[in-house]
Symmetry: C2
Subunit: 136 residues, 2 copies
DNA sequence: CGCAATCTCGTTATGAGATAACGTCACACA
DNA sequence: TGTGTGACGTTATCTCATAACGAGATTGCG
């Protein structure tokens, strides 16, 4: 059984609220945007958001997008706990697509192996224009 | 001839100073660290550094590491102007290695193509422990 | 020449992103 | 009972990045 999804039940109130904000959103959100959205729920300080985000990322429910300083709820198809995920980020509409590709992951592992590099975490972010935005 | 290196001659004074700081450094530097190093050269404000960095990145002489909010001088072997570069970042010693791998680049282009995603820029950053640091 | 366009630069102020440090509270469990 | 742990709230502070304004220098052209 994946230990990736079933944590959802164990979320604390703050974690649930932050997770909710991210799930409702069409695209990535910055910590401060989340904070603003949750002021009515009693959020007052950035740390409340960051603490929740840290845990959600740890659980694998949320990904951090380094090139945007923002966060997205995990939507990647077949949510298999893979830790080598590529993100395609549309610079026009802001939507983010998650891609889990085995060849890609293997290639990266191979390259790390060649260099005797003990790989802990990979960040792959592709910037461009998505199909929908190209059409319009 | 590559249009990647020969720009160096055209650098302005500020750009040269920033480039020098990055070239001297063993690892990546944040903009504010560069600022501090260049105070004796008349630098007083972050913008002086950021403006130079913007140009240097544009010229391909410097890379930005998204996951560190820092910058490195381009050292990648065979400096061929490739825009799909992977970085291996050692979390212990801070050193950064650039890797230019054709298979990896092709795979990413293929994935983007499959999704009809117009790829503009790729960010690949691997975090872990380098060979040297594992030994010690 | 005269004058616009463009580029770099310097400065001040401010906006965004992230964390340190401190104390409180609730709960589990020996 | 009391001790440890983890989430929480608050204030202050740190780091990263850019907006907005104006001054010089350079180029190119009528």
């Amino acid at each position: 059984m994946s230990d990736h999804v079933h944590e959802a039940a164990d979320l604390t109130k703050n974690q649930s609220l932050v997770m909710g904000a991210l799930t409702r959103s069409k695209g990535p959100l910055s910590a401060y945007t989340i904070l603003d959205q949750l002021r009515d729920n009693g959020f007052r300080a950035p740390l409340q958001v960051y603490r929740a985000l840290d845990k959600l990322v740890e659980f694998g429910l949320v990904h951090r997008l380094e090139s945007l300083n923002a966060f997205v709820a995990c939507r990647h198809p077949g949510c298999d706990g893979d830790d080598t995920i590529a993100f395609m980020i549309c610079e026009r509409c802001g939507q983010v697509n998650e891609i889990s590709d085995n060849d890609l992951a293997l290639r990266l592992k191979h390259l790390a192996g060649e260099a005797s590099f003990a790989l802990k975490k990979t960040t792959i972010e592709l910037r461009g224009i998505c199909r929908t935005c190209q059409a319009s």
